[in-house]
C-alpha cells in the first residue's frame, strides 16, 4: 500500500478533476441543437419589450375621477368635439381596477389624500398619473389654504403635468400624447418610473 504513487485522497481529487475537464470539454465542443431557437428567443425578448410598450401606449384607460373644476373640462374631453378615441384614449371607466391612467383633475384636500392614494394603489399596474390643472400641479390659487396639499406630486408619482386653469381639453389631449411618448421611451429623462413600475419613488423622496 505504501508503494502506491498516490494517496486515496489524491485519487479522489484526480477523479473530480477529470470530471471537471470532461464537463469543460463537453461545454467547449458542444454543438447546440437549438441554436436557432436560442437566437429566436433573444429576438422575442427584444420585441416583447417593444410590444409591451406599444400595447401599453396604445391602450390608455383613464379613470372617471373628477375632483373639482377641471372635471368639467374632462367631460368636454369625453364629448364629441374632441374625438379622443381616435388616439386610443378609450371611454372613462368607473372603477380603478380597469384603468391605468389617473387624471387628477382638481385640488386635493387633506381629507381626500388617503382616498386618492387608495385609488392609485387599486389601479392596474403599471399605472400613470397626470396632474391636470394648476391645483393638482402646485395647489394653484388655494396655495395658502390650510386644507390643501400643494400639488398631487407630494403624494403620487406624476408622469405628466398639464398646466392651465383649467387647461383646455386640447391640452389634455397633448398631455396624453406626451404620456404615450414617455411610455414608448421616446422622452429623454425620467422614464425610469413609468417603465420599471417603481411606484413609490417620488413619495419616498418628498413626503
Amino acid at each position: 500500500m505504501n508503494d502506491m504513487p498516490y494517496t486515496p485522497e489524491q485519487f479522489m481529487n484526480a477523479e473530480q478533476e477529470m470530471d471537471q475537464l470532461l464537463e469543460q470539454s463537453a461545454e467547449k465542443y458542444k454543438v447546440s441543437t437549438n441554436a436557432m431557437f436560442a437566437k429566436l428567443s433573444d429576438l422575442a425578448n427584444l420585441t416583447l419589450d417593444d410590444l409591451k410598450r406599444w400595447s401599453r401606449a396604445n391602450s390608455l384607460w383613464p379613470m372617471q375621477f373628477g375632483l373639482a373644476c377641471c372635471a368639467m373640462e374632462l367631460l368636454d374631453f369625453g364629448s364629441a368635439r374632441i374625438d379622443a378615441e381616435r388616439k386610443g384614449y378609450l371611454l372613462f371607466r368607473g372603477t380603478p381596477r380597469q384603468t391605468d391612467v389617473m387624471i387628477v383633475a382638481g385640488w386635493v384636500t387633506k381629507s381626500m389624500v388617503p382616498r386618492v392614494k387608495r385609488l392609485y394603489e387599486q389601479m392596474a399596474k403599471p399605472s400613470y398619473v397626470i396632474a391636470y390643472g394648476e391645483c393638482a400641479t402646485s395647489g394653484g390659487p388655494w396655495w395658502q389654504s390650510y386644507n390643501i396639499i400643494q400639488g398631487i406630486d407630494q403624494v403620487l408619482p406624476v408622469d405628466v403635468y398639464v398646466i392651465g386653469c383649467p387647461p383646455k381639453p386640447e391640452n389634455l389631449f397633448a398631455g396624453l400624447m406626451k404620456l404615450q411618448d414617455k411610455i414608448r421611451g421616446n422622452v429623454v429623462g425620467d422614464t425610469e418610473r413609468s417603465i420599471s413600475e417603481n411606484a413609490r419613488r417620488t413619495e419616498n423622496k418628498r413626503v
Binding site: 372617471q64 375621477f65 373628477g66 375632483l67 373639482a68 373644476c69 372635471a71 368639467m72 373640462e73 367631460l75 368636454d76 364629448s79 364629441a80 368635439r81 368607473g94 382638481g106 385640488w107 384636500t109 381629507s111 381626500m112 382616498r115 385609488l119 390659487p141 388655494w142 395658502q144 389654504s145 390650510y146 386644507n147 390643501i148 386653469c165 383649467p166 383646455k168
Partner: protein, 365 residues
Amino acid sequence: MAIMRLNVGPIHPSTHGVLRLVVDVDGDTVKSVEPHIGFLHRGVEKLMENRMYMQSPSYVEKLDYVAPLSWDDLYVAAVEQATGILCKERAQFARVVLLEFQRIASHLLWLGTFANDVGQLFTLFMWCFRERAMILKLLEDVSGSRMFYVNLRLGGLYQDLPSDFKDRAYKLADYLEGKIVEYPDVLDENPIFLERTKGIGVLGKEDAINYGVSGPVLRASGIEEDTRKSNPYYTYGRIKFRIPTGNRGDSYDRYKVRYEEMLQSIRIIRETLDLMPDKGDVIGLPIKLIGPNAKPAPVMISRELPRGEGMIYMIPDKQKPYRISMRSPAFVNLAALPKMSENCKFADLFPTLGSIDIVLAELDR
C-alpha cells in the same frame, strides 16, 4: 328584513363630484340617506378676507364651476354696493345677456349628465355639449377665457364688447332655440325616462318651504319665486318673461322647469338685445390693488343663480372684506335629499340626487 348600511362615494361616478352618501337600505328600499360633505373644503371665505376686493373674483368663480359668471356677478355686485359704484347702463345689458347665456350653459350641462343618470346614455350628453361649446365660444370671445371668465369689473366689464357681439348673440339664440326644442323628442316620448322621473323624488310644497330650497327645485314644487322677478336687478325689471313652475315636485318637474327656463332665458336674451344701445361705455374700473374705499355698512345681496338663490353677506373693511359669508343654494337644496328619497328604490336615489343639480365646490366652500 335586516337593514343594511351602504357607503357610496366620495369617489363614485354618479355622485357628481366628491359627495359621500351613507344609505340604509331594507332590501331595495332606501330607509335613510345621510350626505357627508367637506371633501373639497379649502376655506374660500378665509382666503378672501386676506385679499383685496378685486383679487377675489377668481376665487368666487371657482365656487360654482358650472356657471362661474353667475357667482362672479354676485360678488362684484356686492363690492359695487359696498363701494357705492353704479354699473354703467350698457354694461348692465351686456351682463344680463352674458348671465343668461351662462344659465343656459349650466342647464345644458345638467341636462346631459342627468340623462346619463337616468339611463339615457350619452345621446343627450353629446347633444347638450355640442350646444354648450357654442355658448362657451361666445363667452370666450367676449372675455378671453374658456371657462373662468374673470371679466366683470366694478361698474362694467374689463374691455369693450366685440363689434359683432349683437349679431352673434342673436344668431346664437336662434341656433340654441332650434336645437333645444328637439330635446323632448328623446325625453318626453321616452317611456324609460318617464318611468324613472315621474313620481320619483317628490318634494311637497310645504316641505320645500320648510327646507328652504330655492331655484328650480323650489319652482318645481309649485312656488313662483324668482329673485329676478321679486327683487329685480339690472334690467330684469324692464323685460317680460315667465317663471316656469311645476306642480308635483318630482324629478320630472325639475327637469321640465329647467328646460322651460332655458327657453325663457333665450327670450330674455332677445329682449335685452333689442333694448341694448349700440354704442356706449361698458368698461369698468381697472383692477388696482388700492381701489376706492368701501363704506363700513354691512352688505347683503342676493342673485338668482342657475342653482337657486345665492347670497353674500359682507362686512366691508376699507380695502378688503372684514368678514364675508356666502349662502350656497346647492348646500340648502342638498339638505332636502333625505326627504325626497324617503322610501324610494335604491336605483332611484341617483336620478333624484342628479335632479337637485349640486356642485360640490360651492357646497363645501
